[in-house]
Symmetry: D2
Subunit: 391 residues, 4 copies
C-alpha cells in the first residue's frame, strides 16, 4: 500500500465510519426513510474529506502494487461511493452520470484493470475484509452491522467449504469409496450455514438492519453506468454447489441470466472457478447415468449425496422464508415501502425480486413445480433407488 | 464441433446468408430504412430454421468442446440474433426481454461460460472468422460486406502487429539499442493501417454499406439486457497502443469509461492483455523521465517513437475524418437520419457518438486541446528534444 | 476420451492389473527382492500389449481432448512404465535412455503439453484417480495396495482441506473474529490426517506393502532423463500448510530445494497455488508482528493457531516415527536392504532420505534444534503470550 | 525494486562487469582455456562482493514485488553464479552441491516461485535485458559480447514476430484471403533473421567469442542440481514456428525431448504459449487436408506458406553451417577442444551436440532424410500442387 492508500484506509476505518454512525443515529432518532436535511454538515464533511483522499490517489497515477492492493483500494472507493448514495448525495435516477467524478474515475480505472465491476462488492465486506486489531471494515460502528457482516462472512465461508468438498469429489467420480468423506464434509458445511443463519435470525435487530444497514447496499452510478448493490451471495461457492449438485443448470435461461448478471461482481478467481464448473457434469447426472450399477460404494455415496441436496435445499428455504421474510418483507410491509423503487440492492421492485428468489430456492430445494426446471422428478428417482438399497 | 454445431455452422454459412442477401436486395430495391412488411415469408423462415437449430443445440447440453468451439458457436448464435434485429424481428425498445428465448438461453450460457458478452463480437467477424474453402462468414454475399470485413480484419491485424511490437519493447526499456527495430516495426504496421483504410475508403460503396451492412451491428437484447453492437475496434491492440504510447491514460475518466464498456466485448485473452497494459509505464512517460539523459540510443529511439505517435494519430484522424464522415455522417445527413435513435452500434445518438469519437482521435493525434487530457504539451517537449539532437 | 484412449484405460484397469497381480503373487511366494526370471511370459505379454496400445495412441496424433483427458492418459502411460520398471524390464542405471521408446515419446509429448513431469504422479493414484463402478485404478488387486491408496487419498484430501481453510484465512488477517472458525477447521482436518494415518498403521500389512506395493514407485527413465518416483506428498496442500503456518520457509535452502524438486510432480493448478503462497506473509510472522496488540480476537486466534501448529507437528512426527519406521525402515533392516540403491522412491540411499525426512518433520514440529531453521523460539514466544492471556 | 535489489543491480551493471572484463583481458593475454591462477584477487573480490549483496537480499525475505522484479533479480543472481562458474570458482563435476550456498538459496526461492529454472536464462540477456542509459546488461564490456547479445536479441525478436504472425493466422484458417498478409509477414520476419545472422557472421570475432563470451554460458549447479547453460534459443517463438508450420512434431521423441528439456528455461508466458501450440493442427497438415480444394485463396496461400517454410529452413541451415561452424566447431578444432567435456552450453560433448543440431536443422529445412521424421515428402506434394496452379 502506498502512503496515500494507507491514509485513505485509515480514514475509511475511522472518521468515515464515525460520520456514518453519527448520521445513522440521527436518521434513526428523527425519522426513517427520507434522509434529506439531516446532518448536512456531516454529509458535506464526508463528501469533501473522501474526495480529497481520492484526488490525491488519482494524481498518484498507476502505482502497480498488485491485484490485492488494487482490489482493496477499489473497496475503499466503493465504500465511499455507497455511503454517498446512502446519504442521498448521489441518486442514480436523478443523474445521468455520477457526480462523484474523481471517485468514478478511480473506480473505473481500478475495476477495468482488475476485471470486476467498478464498485465495492460483497467480497470487500466478507471474505476479503481484512481486520485491523480485531476490527473489520464496516460503514458504521452499529452492533447490528457488525453482526450482519460477521454472519454473512461465516455463511459465505461455509458455502465455500461445501463447494470445495464437491470440487475435490469431481475427479474421483461418484462411485469412489473415498468420495463418501467429501459428501459428508459438504453436508456438514451446509448444516453449518443453516446454524449460522439461525443465529443471525435470532440476534439481528430488524429495524436497525432495515433502516441503518441495508441502505448502504443500494444501486448507484459509477461514471455513466448504474450498478446494482452488493449482496451476500456474490461469491462463486453457492453457484458451484448449485451446478455440481445439479439442482440448477446453466442452460436454464433464468439461471444463466442470474450468472451473467453476477459474474463481474465476483473476484476474477471466482469467475474462473465458476466458469470451469459450467462445463462439468453434475453429480446428479452422474448418479442418474449409473442408476443401473449396483456397486456398493456408488449406492452408499448416493445416500450421502441426497443428504447434501437436502441440506442445501433446507438452507435455501431458510434464507427465503426466514431471513428475507423477517428482515425485508415484513419491515417493508410495515413501512409501507413495498412499492418503493429503491428498496432492493439489485434494483427491481420488491415483489419482482421476491418471485425470482422464490424460484431460486425452489430449484435448490427441488420443489414440486413444473413451471420451472426443478429436478424433483430426478430426485424422486434417486431417492427411490437409495431406499431400495437400504431395504 | 458436435454434429449439431456443425449443421448450424453450415446453415449460417449458406441458407442464412442467402436469406439475408435476398432480403437486402428487396430492401435496397424498394425503400431503405424501414424494413417492415418486406419479405415476411423469408424472415419467418430465417427465424424458424435458426430456432430449430438452436433448440437442438440447447438440448444437447453442456458438451464441453473447449473454448474455441464455444466461442465459435456463440458467434453463430450471435449472427442469428443480429439478423433478427436487423430484420426487425426483435427490437430492444419494444421489448423488456428478448423474444428469442432459446437463442438468449444458449447465448447467455455460452457468454457466461466464456467470459464475454452473450452476443457476437467483432472477433467473430474479423480476427476469428474462420474461412471455409476460401470464404469467411458474413451476413450476406454482398460484395461490399466482404470488402468491409476483409479490410476491418486487415486493419485490426495491423493494429495488433503494432501493439505486439510495442509490447516486446517494454522489457527492453526506451534506451535499448534494439528497441529501434521495434519502433520501426510499430510505425510500419500503423502505416499499413493507413493504407488499408485508404483502399477501403476508395472501394466501399457508401449506400450499400450504410443500408445493407451496418444494420447488422445494431444493439439488441439477449435475455433481459440490451447489448451494444459490435464495432471494428473490439480488440485490445488499439488500446494497447494508446496506453503504451501514452496518448490515452487509464486515469482519464473518459478513457476508462470506454475501457469499462469495452472489456466484455473482447476475448478473454485480450482482456488480460489490456489489463496488464493498464499497469505499465507508458513510453511517453519513460522518455519524459529520461529527458536529461544524453544517451545516443535513447535520442535515436525518441525520434522513432515520435514517428510512431504520428502514424497513430494520422490513422486515427483518417478513421474519423474520412471513414466515419463518408460512410456514416454523410449518408445519415442525406437520409435525414441524424437524430435516428437506432443509427449507431453503440447506442447513443449520432451527434453524441461523433463528439466522443472526436475526443478519441484528438487524444490519439495529440491535438492542441486543453478541454481533454491531450498530451500535446508533452509531445511538444519531446519533439523539441528530438530536434535539438539532430541539430 | 478417444476410443483408443478408452481401450487403453480398460486394459490398465483389468488385464494390466491382473498381470501385475499374478506376478506379485509369484514374487511373493518364491523369493522377494530380485524378480528376474520369474513369470517371464507374463512380463513379455504386459510389455507387448501395453506397447500395442501406445503405438496406436501415438499414431492418433494430437487429439486435443483437453487437459483432463491428457492428464489421465499420461497417468495410464505412466502406470505402464512404472510396472515395466517394477518388473525390471527397464532399469535406469542400466540404460542411458528408456528402452520404452514409444511410451517415452507419448509421455514426453503429454508431459510437455501439460506442464508436468512425463510420468505418473501421485495425483494419478490419489486425488485424480477416477473410480469406475466403485473401483479406482491400482497396479494390482492386492488388498493392501487398495488400502494404501485409499488412505493416502484420505490423508491428502484432509491436508488439502486444512490448506484451504488457511488460504481463506489470509485475506481476513489474524485478528479477524471469524478467523477462529477457519483455524478450528484447519485443526480438525489435521486431526483427521492423524486418525487416518493411525488406521493405516494398524491395517496395512508390512510385507505386502514393502514387497508388492512400493516397488511400483521407483525412479525410472522417460526418454533420456530419470525421474524420481511418485510419493504421497506430491500435492501442494502440505507445503501450503508449512508456508502459511510459517514452520517452513522458502528462503531456507533445504526447503526451497525440496520445492524446486517437487514442482513438476504437481498438477499445474497446484503449482500456481503453491507459487502464490510463497509470496505471502506466514501466519506465524503475522502473529509475531502484532505481539504487542491486546485485541481479544487476536489473542483468541493465537491460541487456536498454536493448536493448528501442534496438530501439524503431531501428524508429521507420526508419519516419520510410525509410518516410515514401520513400513520402510524396519523391513529394509530385516531384508538387509538399507544400502540398496534402489529402495527409495526419490532416489537417494535410505539413510540420506531418512535424515532429510527427519529435518522436515522437525521443522513441522518446531523441534528444539538449532542446526536447522526450526522456529521453536518463535513458537515459545507465542505460547508464552497465549498463556499470559488465559491467565 | 527494493533498495537492496537496486544496489545489486548497479553492482552487476558496473563493478561486476568491470571485474569480469579485467579477468577476460588477462585470460586472453596470457593463455586461453585454463583460467586457474589468474587474477585470483579479482576473483575473490567478485565472489565476496556478490555474496555480500546476496546475503542482504536473502535476509530481506519475501518482498513480493511482483513477477517482473523477481525475474530480474533471478537474472542478476544468475549472472553472478555463471561468472563464478566461468572463473572456475565453482565447477559442477567437482562438487555435489553448489558451494555458493546463499546464491543457491536465493535462486531456488526465486526459480520455484516464478516457475522457471533457478538460473539465468537467455531471456535475461535478450528479450528481457533492460537497458539503462542506452546500455543493456552484459558480463563484460567487450565489444564482441555486446554484438553477440544485440544480434541474438534481434534474431529472437524477429523469430517471435514470425511466430506471432502464424499465431494470428490460426483462427482464420489456411484459405482465408487475409491470411496471405500474415504469411508474408512471417516470411519477412524470417528473412530478417537471416540478414541479422549474416551481419553477425561478418562482424563477430571468432576468438573473442569463443574464449571470452561463451564460457559464461556453461552448465553449473544451483543447490544440488546441475542446470545446462542458457542458449539463444530459450524462447517459445522458434518452436512455435516449427510446430505451426508442421516441420517438427510433438510426437517425435527427438523433438519432444528437446521441448521437455527446454520448458523451464523459458518464461512462464512462453511455456503456456508453446503448450497451447502443441495441441494445434499445423498449417502443413491443414494444407494437406484440403489438397483437393481448388479455392483460389487457398492455392495462393499455399505458395506463400511454402515461401515461409523455405525462409525458415534457410535460416536454420545458416545457423548450423555458418554460425555454429565458424564460431564453435572451427575454434574447437583449432584449440583441440572437440572432446572437452565442458565445451557446450547444454552439456553433451560437441560431436553429440552437433549431430542433434544437424537433425534439428534438417527437420526445419525438410531435408531428404528418412532416418528422421523430415516432412520432405509432404513438402514435395505441396510444392507439386502449388506449381500446378501457377501453370
Ligand atoms: C467503413 C469504414 C468504417 C466506418 C464507417 C467506421 C465507423 C466507426 C464508428 C462509427 C465507430 C464507433 C462505433 C460506436 O461506438 O458506435 C467505430 C469504432 C472503431 N473503429 Fe471504425 N469504422 C470503419 C472502419 C474501421 C476500420 C477499417 C478499422 C480498423 C481496424 C476501424 C477501427 C475502429 C476502432 C478501433 C473503433 C473503436 C473506437 C476506437 O478505439 O477508435 N474502423 N468505427
Ligand atoms: C555466434 C553465433 C551463434 C552461435 C555460435 C550459436 C550456436 C548455438 C549452439 C551451439 C546451440 C546449441 C546450444 C546447446 O544446446 O548447447 C544453439 C542453439 C540455438 N541457437 Fe544459436 N548460435 C548463434 C547465434 C544464434 C542466433 C543469432 C540465434 C537467433 C535467435 C540463435 C538461435 C538459436 C536457437 C533457437 C537455438 C536452440 C536450438 C534450436 O531451436 O535451434 N543462435 N546455438
Amino acid at each position: 500500500m502506498t502512503p496515500r492508500a494507507e491514509a485513505f484506509d485509515n480514514w475509511i476505518r475511522r472518521d468515515f465510519r464515525d460520520m456514518n454512525t453519527a448520521l445513522e443515529e440521527r436518521y434513526f432518532a428523527e425519522r426513517r426513510s427520507d434522509v434529506s436535511g439531516v446532518g448536512d454538515d456531516i454529509k458535506q464533511q464526508l463528501l469533501d474529506e473522501g474526495r480529497a483522499h481520492i484526488v490525491g490517489l488519482l494524481g498518484e497515477g498507476n502505482t502497480d502494487e498488485g491485484f490485492d492492493a488494487g482490489f482493496d483500494l477499489l473497496g475503499n472507493v466503493g465504500f465511499y461511493m455507497a455511503a454517498c448514495r446512502r446519504h442521498d448525495l448521489t441518486e442514480p435516477s436523478r443523474e445521468t452520470r455520477s457526480p462523484l467524478a474523481e471517485a468514478s474515475a478511480l473506480a473505473m480505472q481500478l475495476g477495468a484493470s482488475l476485471g470486476t465491476v467498478p464498485r465495492f462488492a460483497s467480497a470487500h465486506l466478507e471474505t476479503h475484509n481484512r481486520a485491523v486489531d480485531g476490527v473489520f471494515k464496516s460503514f458504521t460502528t452499529l452492533e447490528d452491522e457488525g453482526t450482519f457482516i460477521a454472519y454473512n462472512t461465516r455463511g459465505a465461508l461455509a458455502y465455500i467449504r461445501a463447494s470445495e468438498a464437491l470440487l475435490r469429489l469431481l475427479p474421483l467420480g461418484v462411485s469412489h469409496p473415498v468420495a463418501a468423506d467429501l459428501l459428508d464434509e459438504a453436508r456438514d458445511a451446509l448444516e453449518a450455514v443453516y446454524r449460522y443463519n439461525e443465529e443471525l435470525f435470532q440476534i439481528l435487530d430488524v429495524e436497525r438492519f432495515f433502516y441503518c444497514v441495508r441502505p448502504y447496499y443500494k444501486p448507484h452510478r459509477v461514471g455513466l453506468r448504474e450498478y446494482r448493490g452488493a449482496n451476500a451471495g456474490d461469491f462463486a461457492g453457492i453457484n458451484v454447489i448449485d451446478l455440481l449438485l445439479g439442482v440448477c443448470r446453466a442452460d436454464d435461461p433464468y439461471y444463466s441470466q442470474l450468472l451473467v448478471d453476477k459474474f463481474l461482481f465476483m473476484r476474477p478467481e471466482d469467475q474462473l472457478l465458476l466458469r470451469d464448473c459450467m462445463r462439468r457434469q453434475s453429480l446428479m447426472d452422474a448418479f442418474l447415468e449409473h442408476r443401473d450399477s449396483d456397486s456398493p460404494p456408488l449406492r452408499e455415496n448416493l445416500r450421502r449425496f441426497l443428504a447434501v441436496c437436502d441440506a442445501h435445499g433446507k438452507a435455501a428455504l431458510q434464507h427465503h422464508e426466514q431471513l428475507v421474510e423477517k428482515f425485508i418483507v415484513q419491515p417493508a410491509d410495515e413501512g409501507d415501502l413495498v412499492d418503493n423503487q429503491q428498496l432492493t440492492a439489485s434494483g427491481p421492485p420488491l415483489p419482482v425480486l421476491l418471485k425470482a428468489l422464490r424460484t431460486l430456492c425452489d430449484l435448490r430445494a427441488g420443489a414440486v413445480r413444473d413451471d420451472i426446471p426443478s429436478r424433483h422428478r430426478d430426485l424422486a428417482t434417486l431417492r427411490e433407488l437409495a431406499s431400495q438399497v437400504s431395504a
